[in-house]
Symmetry: C2
Subunit: 177 residues, 2 copies
C-alpha cells in the first residue's frame, strides 16, 4: 500500500476512559480494509484480556505479538515482566525500521515508559531517526508522558463518564475484551 506523499502519523490514545485499545483496533479495521500491512504489539496485556481481537486478527491475517505476560500491580516477578517488555520493544523496533508495514500498533506502550522501564526521550529520539516517514504508528495506554504527546501528531484522551462495572454489570465478552 505504498503511496506517494503519505505522511505517517504518530497517534496516541490515552486517558483513563474505555476505548483506547478499542480505538486503535478500529483504526486497524479501517486500515485493513484498505489493504495496509499491519503489525501489532501488545505490551502488558494478559492472554485472556484480548481474546476477541486476537481471534479477529488471526482470521484477518494480521501479525500480532503479545510481548507482555499480563502484568498487574500484584505481579510478583517484576524483573520478568520488565525483561519481556524490553524484549518486545527490541522486536518492535526491528519491525518499525523494516519498512515492511504501513501501520504498527504499540498497545499499552505508555506503561513501560511511565514505569521508566524504557526511557521516553531515548524512544522519541530513536523514532525521529528510525521511523520510516510513511509509517503510521499508534501508541495506547494511560499516563502517556508529556514528551510523547508533544512528539505525536494526533492525541485523543478518553475520558470515562460512565462505566457498567460500577453498576455491578460484569465485563461482557466480545465487547470489553
Amino acid at each position: 500500500m505504498a503511496q506517494e506523499n503519505r505522511k505517517g502519523l504518530t497517534i496516541v490514545f490515552t486517558g483513563n476512559g474505555k476505548g483506547k485499545t478499542t480505538a486503535a483496533l478500529g483504526t486497524i479495521f479501517r486500515a485493513w480494509g484498505r489493504g495496509f500491512r499491519i503489525c501489532v504489539f501488545q505490551f502488558l496485556k494478559a492472554e485472556t484480556g484480548s481474546w476477541g481481537e486476537v481471534k479477529a486478527a488471526k482470521r484477518l491475517g494480521i501479525e500480532w505479538y503479545k510481548t507482555g505476560d499480563g502484568f498487574t500491580w500484584t505481579t510478583k516477578n517484576m524483573d520478568e515482566s520488565k525483561e519481556k517488555t524490553l524484549h518486545g520493544w527490541e522486536l518492535a523496533k526491528q519491525k518499525i525500521v523494516s519498512g515492511d508495514y504501513d501501520l504498527i500498533l504499540l498497545d499499552e506502550f505508555t506503561y513501560p515508559l511511565a514505569f521508566g522501564w524504557i526511557d521516553t526521550q531515548e524512544t522519541i529520539t530513536w523514532l525521529e531517526t528510525h521511523k520510516p516517514v510513511d509509517l503510521h504508528l499508534i501508541i495506547t495506554g494511560r499516563d502517556a508522558p508529556q514528551a510523547l504527546l508533544d512528539y505525536a501528531d494526533l492525541v485523543t484522551k478518553m475520558e470515562e463518564i460512565k462505566h457498567p462495572f460500577y453498576q455491578g454489570i460484569k465485563a461482557q465478552p466480545g465487547i470489553e475484551f
Copy 2:
C-alpha cells in the same frame, strides 16, 4: 452467538475528539472475532467519508447500511436529509427487534437526536420496551443528549487534545477514513 445471562450493553461514544466511530469499529472488530452477528447503520456519513471501514466490513461479511447522504451544514435540501435519516431509523428499529443480531451500531445517531429530527425520549422509551435484553447497542456522535447518557450503560467522551489537521497535515486515508 447466543449466550446465557448475557446483558446487552448500550454504549455511547461522544465528545468532540477523534475516535468515536473508530472506537465503535474496534468494538466491532473484537466482536467479529468472537463470531457475533453484527449490523451497522451510518446515519449521516458521506460515502467517501468511511471508505476503509466499508471495505473492511464487506470483506468480513458484516451488514452495513448507509442511511444518510453525507449531510453537512452546507446541505441545501435539509428535508431530504431528514427523510433519509428517518427511513434509516425505521430500518434500524426492524433490525433491533428482529433478534437476529448480537451487536448493532448506530453511527452518528446522536445528530438526528440533537437536531430534533428524532425525539430522544420516544427513542429511549422504544428501546426500553423493544431492544432484546442480550443485544449490544452502540451509539456514536457529538452532542449526545443527556437523557441518552442517562439511559446508556457505558459512556466514553473523546476529548481532542491534538489534531494534525491544525498542523497542516492532510487527512490520511486508511487512518482517518
